[in-house]
């Protein structure tokens, strides 16, 4: 079995006439948590949306499990992944129904839903909120529900897009502490976009640095901190 879940080669994305992202090569290894870091507007979220097939690349190749991603339909592909955005984007339903949503889309049986939803609500510490209306949650609670909604799908690839940046620091710290063992124990391959290096180091083993619309460097955090590949990366890491 291939070590890499995702391999991207020569990816190019253009919006209007502007090149918004260029990636020569990027691999995401099975079971790892990879942080995609870089300043705001560098193209991090573009990469994430491309991986969720919510954005069509202008050029390049994307392999999922060793096979070209284009070989499967958007919906079939997206049912292997799960996406959590910066805002929880919960629906005006109960917490339970929100978490059951993705399973329903996949045609899961009622018994499967009844088994998995409470389990993941519990794992994220929001079991007691199951019957509450989603719009009556605090920011931290809502983001926990949003994570449960993604993790309950047991996705092959979890995509997190600045998912903690809207939370206040103490709430964020506790959530990161809770999430880390969950991702590790479930061996969920995770791609995690953030502009916060501290957050990246806490959750991820490897990092990919995107600066000025291109992927510059990928490797273990220490490697990158010790040897930034160019001045832009060094500048972003605060090592001028």
């Amino acid at each position: 079995m291939n070590k890499d879940l995702i391999t991207i080669k020569n990816l190019l994305i253009i919006r209007g006439k502007k090149e918004v992202l260029r990636v020569k090569k990027l691999s995401v290894q099975r079971g790892e948590v990879l942080a995609v870091v870089g300043p705001n507007g560098a193209g991090k979220s573009t990469l994430l949306l491309t991986l969720a097939r919510l954005l069509e690349p202008n050029a390049g190749q994307m392999l999922f499990n060793g096979t070209p991603a284009q070989n499967t339909s958007d919906t079939v592909y997206r049912r292997k992944i799960a996406l959590v955005m910066q805002d929880p984007l919960l629906f005006d339903l109960s917490v339970y129904k929100n978490v059951a949503l993705g399973l329903e889309f996949r045609g899961a049986s009622k018994s499967e839903i009844q088994e998995k939803v409470p389990l993941w609500l519990k794992r994220l510490g929001v079991a007691d909120l199951a019957e509450r209306r989603a719009k009556r949650l605090s920011g931290g609670e809502a983001q926990r529900v949003s994570l449960a909604r993604a993790l309950v799908l047991e996705p092959e690839l979890l995509l997190l897009d600045e998912s903690f940046s809207a939370l206040d620091p103490p709430t964020r710290a506790t959530l990161l502490d809770d999430l880390k063992p969950l991702l590790k124990n479930s061996k969920t391959t995770t791609l995690f976009v953030t502009h916060d290096l501290h957050e990246a180091r806490k959750l991820a083993t490897r990092m990919a640095v995107i600066v000025k619309n291109s992927l510059r460097q990928i490797g273990y955090a220490d490697e990158i901190f010790n040897a930034p590949v160019d001045e832009d990366v060094a500048h972003f890491l605060g090592k001028d």
């Binding site: 049912r79 996406l83 955005m85 949503l101 889309f105 799908l153």
Partner: protein
């Protein structure tokens, strides 16, 4: 006017006609409003403007237009629809469909556009995405339905023109009110008006109850 049989018959006919017209408007308006709100195609904003203009169509103008289509001299004269309940349903559908289309589009456009990405990101197919958005917008969508019904149950100009206000055939509450007023039977006209208001209120009450169920 004979009581209470004739009034009952007129009331039932009014409700039937307006309910069917609203139902057809919903069948037309929900998909078209969704297309206008979510679709990306050339002329979308133009069509939205057309629909928004259509939301304020004067019923008599619609009545005249539909009558000209259905008169024996008109293109659909052979179908013998003029002065039938079907003719009123057609005219009322023309009146209420833009209301339902426009308010459906507005309801869906008022949702956070990122919800669509989020739904796809959770594995929704296109239809599952649309279904989830309808559910999310259920309150304004029910309001669209109520507005559509309200625009036809209270409408008189088109019903008069294409229905003909024919006794026992196409006389509805609003045209009966006009007739009783012209006869000088103001008490009966007022009573019919009160009946119309009561019915409109009850229908809206029922729909509001459905709409607000589970709200606190």
């Amino acid at each position: 006017m004979s009581f209470p049989y004739e009034i009952l018959q007129i009331t039932i006919l009014s409700l039937q006609i307006s309910a069917i017209a609203t139902g057809i408007s919903l069948l037309i308006g929900l998909p078209l409003g969704t297309l206008l709100a979510l679709g990306k195609f050339w002329g979308r904003s133009f069509f939205l403007s057309v629909v928004n203009t259509g939301m304020g169509l004067p019923p008599v103008v619609v009545g005249l237009f539909v009558a000209m289509m259905l008169w024996r001299s008109g293109p659909f004269g052979d179908m013998n629809l003029i002065y039938t309940p079907t003719a009123i349903i057609i005219a009322q559908t023309v009146i209420s469909a833009p209301v339902v289309i426009g308010l459906t589009a507005a309801a869906l456009q008022s949702l956070d556009p990122r919800l669509r990405l989020q739904l796809y990101g959770l594995g929704a197919s296109r239809w599952q995405m649309i279904w989830a958005l309808w559910r999310e917008a259920r309150l304004p969508l029910l309001a669209a339905l109520m507005a559509g019904f309200g625009s036809v149950i209270s409408e008189v100009g088109a019903s008069m023109m294409v229905g003909g206000n024919i006794r026992n055939q196409t006389r509805v509450l609003t045209t009966a009110i006009v007739l009783e007023t012209s006869k000088g039977n103001f008490e009966i006209a007022m009573a019919l008006g009160a009946l119309l208001l009561t019915i409109t209120f009850l229908v809206n009450w029922a729909l509001t109850w459905v709409q607000q169920r589970g709200e606190d």
